[in-house]
């Protein structure tokens, strides 16, 4: 059909190719991630309803759980608060993580994601960018939960520094756990599907832990699971930090747990995101 010889093309490879780079560097990856985080914060600012869950849930659930379970579990509301506040904090942050995955799924259906994929950028950037921005959501949730707790009578023994340390730990854990839901986001077919699967992961993780009830009140087989649940470690670590100001082994275990979760789910998420195209 055409008179152009293909052999000639192979012999004289055009200059345009010489100007390209073979890989994305770590610095470029970070810069791309931050640019996409910037995009996500703009999106949050323009759709403030995305922040409803992290604002309403701490206000509502903290008070509700305290008054409903307080008497039954600890005798009265005030002595339940040191047990419950770190627990409800973990639950709130985990719920916020679920939204991370669901929103990613929604975003991936939009045309702009096609462009992200067609650009020479690191494949992890479109996933990690929104997750960096979601640190804001976890921070809002953490601050509000502590504030509500203090308002209804929580007096953390760890003092301000203990509370800040517990808060930071939970935000970090939230970011780590978000990789699980980001992965679910990349494999799910629809946003509702992702939401359903994520809640099925989220509820056992929070309720089959020591977040709301001391684990020694549970049957032996359940107690065994509760003890290895990373959420339990996180909750225990947060309690030690906020209530006593102690950096215990629970903190170490919680951090190891986070690292393991990232180590498993970040590569899975990037792989399935890459595969989708």
């Amino acid at each position: 059909m055409t008179t152009l010889s293909i052999e000639k093309a192979a012999a004289t490879r055009p200059d345009v190719v010489a100007e390209t780079k073979p890989h994305v560097s770590v610095r470029e990856t970070l810069s791309q991630t931050m640019t996409l985080a910037w995009r996500a914060t703009k999106k949050m600012r323009r759709n403030p309803e995305q922040l409803f869950d992290v604002v309403i849930q701490p206000l509502l659930f903290t008070a509700m759980f305290a008054y409903i379970f307080g008497g039954a579990i600890s005798g009265d509301v005030e002595s339940y608060l040191p047990l419950m506040i770190p627990g409800i904090l973990a639950q709130t942050v985990l719920t916020a993580c679920v939204a991370t995955g669901v929103q990613l799924r929604e975003d991936m259906d939009k045309g702009v994601f096609d462009r992200f994929k067609s650009l020479p950028i690191a494949r992890i950037a479109p996933l990690a960018g929104p997750m960096m921005a979601d640190l804001i959501r976890y921070t809002i949730a953490t601050v509000l939960t502590f504030a509500v707790g203090v308002a209804i009578g929580y007096r953390p023994g760890g003092g301000f520094l203990g509370v800040v340390a517990a808060g930071l730990l939970l935000i970090l854990c939230g970011w780590s756990m978000a990789w699980i839901f980001t992965w679910v986001g990349t494999i799910g077919r629809s946003a509702t599907g992702v939401q359903g699967i994520s809640l099925m992961i989220m509820f056992p993780l929070t309720f089959l832990s020591n977040a709301f009830v001391p684990s020694d009140t549970m049957p032996g087989w359940l107690e065994a699971f509760v003890k290895v649940n990373p959420v339990s470690q996180v909750v225990s670590a947060a309690r030690d930090l906020a209530n006593n100001g102690d950096v215990t082994m629970h903190v170490v275990y919680a951090l190891i747990g986070c690292a393991v979760v990232i180590g498993i789910f970040a590569p899975l998420a990037v792989r399935s995101f890459r595969k989708r195209m």
């Binding site: 093309a9 490879r13 640019t35």
Partner: protein
């Protein structure tokens, strides 16, 4: 066949590089449906190459494979000699993609979109901002720079989308149905923009379902149907492949259609295409003066003719001849050409 219509700037670009896109036996299957079924393509640099086909022919799927957005199931594709399947990251640096649906962020303003895409491709914040300003000016979007995309018209979105593909001045641009859904004026503007790209040294691979668009813009056209390439050539080559010209007759009385078509068939040894509602007959001619023979024969058969025209075949007819079915397009722009009598 040769590519004989090369303008000076095309020739200049051809000297530096030679082939922008080459595919061999490209296949993409979705389940049992082979959306792209063994397409061979060679796109020389510095040209507008049109991929023409009806909805669902596999044009977009093919483009998405070349743009690394879809995995290539089988076959081979290279962009400027770079293997698409093996070096997607390099290919992404060489290609600007403008999709069928605006691939810009609805949540951001026009300038924020361009700034973000610039930053993502390694421009500094100031450079990205400057490039965004220049592009907005070039595409007549300065006034809309700070408006959210949700308030943009279809044409504005397309232009912004194209601007976003040009931030790093890639040597190859993919345009997936760039004017689908645009009004005629905006469409003309888009055509001008595409021509400007090529005069700047770009290669453009565009898909379209509009025959007149391929006719107007493309240096070469590949006709795709049901995932396969059914023809390739310049617009003129494709047209002459179905005969040198077409005779079109409008009968005064549509009831005479069968008599008239018998006369035409007997005289020209060709099967005429009939439009019974309007009493219209289209038939390919090898030589334009055969038209006179037909008119004399019709006079003898006492069939009155309302109007007669001899013209080059439209791409519509080309498409019909190549695929055995028409397109969704009802454009009939070449109708007024070379009228003999009315």
């Amino acid at each position: 066949m040769t590519t004989d219509t090369i303008s000076p700037q095309h020739a200049a670009a051809r000297r530096v590089t030679d082939i922008a896109v080459r595919t061999e036996g490209l296949v993409k299957a979705f389940g049992d449906n082979r959306a792209v079924d063994g397409i061979d393509l060679v796109v020389p640099t510095g040209q507008i190459f049109g991929v023409l086909g009806p909805n669902g022919a596999g044009k977009t799927t093919m483009l998405r494979m070349l743009a690394t957005l879809l995995r290539i199931d089988s076959g081979y594709a290279e962009i400027f000699g770079v293997d698409v399947a093996r070096s997607p990251h390099v290919v992404r640096q060489l290609v600007g993609v403008t999709g069928q649906y605006a691939s810009v962020d609805e949540n951001l303003t026009a300038i924020e979109n361009l700034w973000m895409f610039g930053r993502l491709q390694g421009l500094s914040s100031t450079r990205a901002r400057k490039t965004a300003d220049v592009l907005l000016g070039q595409f007549g979007l300065e006034e809309a720079a700070n408006r959210p995309i949700s308030q943009f018209s279809g044409g504005m979105r397309r232009r912004l989308d194209l601007a976003a593909s040009l931030i790093t001045r890639p040597p190859l641009i993919f345009l997936d149905e760039p004017t689908t859904g645009l009004d005629p004026r905006t469409r003309g503007q888009m055509w001008d923009t595409i021509r400007d790209l090529v005069s700047d040294g770009c290669t453009v691979l565009l898909t379209t379902q509009y025959l007149d668009e391929a006719d107007q813009l493309a240096d070469r056209i590949a006709v795709i149907d049901r995932g396969q390439k059914v023809a390739e050539g310049t617009s003129d080559e494709l047209k002459s492949s179905v005969g040198n010209s077409t005779l079109q007759l409008d009968l005064l009385d549509p009831a005479n259609l069968s008599v008239a078509s018998d006369v035409v068939r007997r005289l020209l040894q060709e099967e005429p295409v009939l439009t019974p509602e309007s009493g219209r007959i289209n038939v390919p001619l090898n030589q334009a003066d055969q038209a006179a023979d037909v008119l004399i024969a019709l006079r003898t058969a006492e069939v009155s003719v309302a109007s007669v025209s001899v013209r080059k075949p439209s791409l519509d007819e080309v498409f019909m001849a190549l695929t055995g079915h028409g397109t969704d397009s009802t454009d009939d722009q070449t109708e007024q050409n070379d009228e003999v009598a009315r």
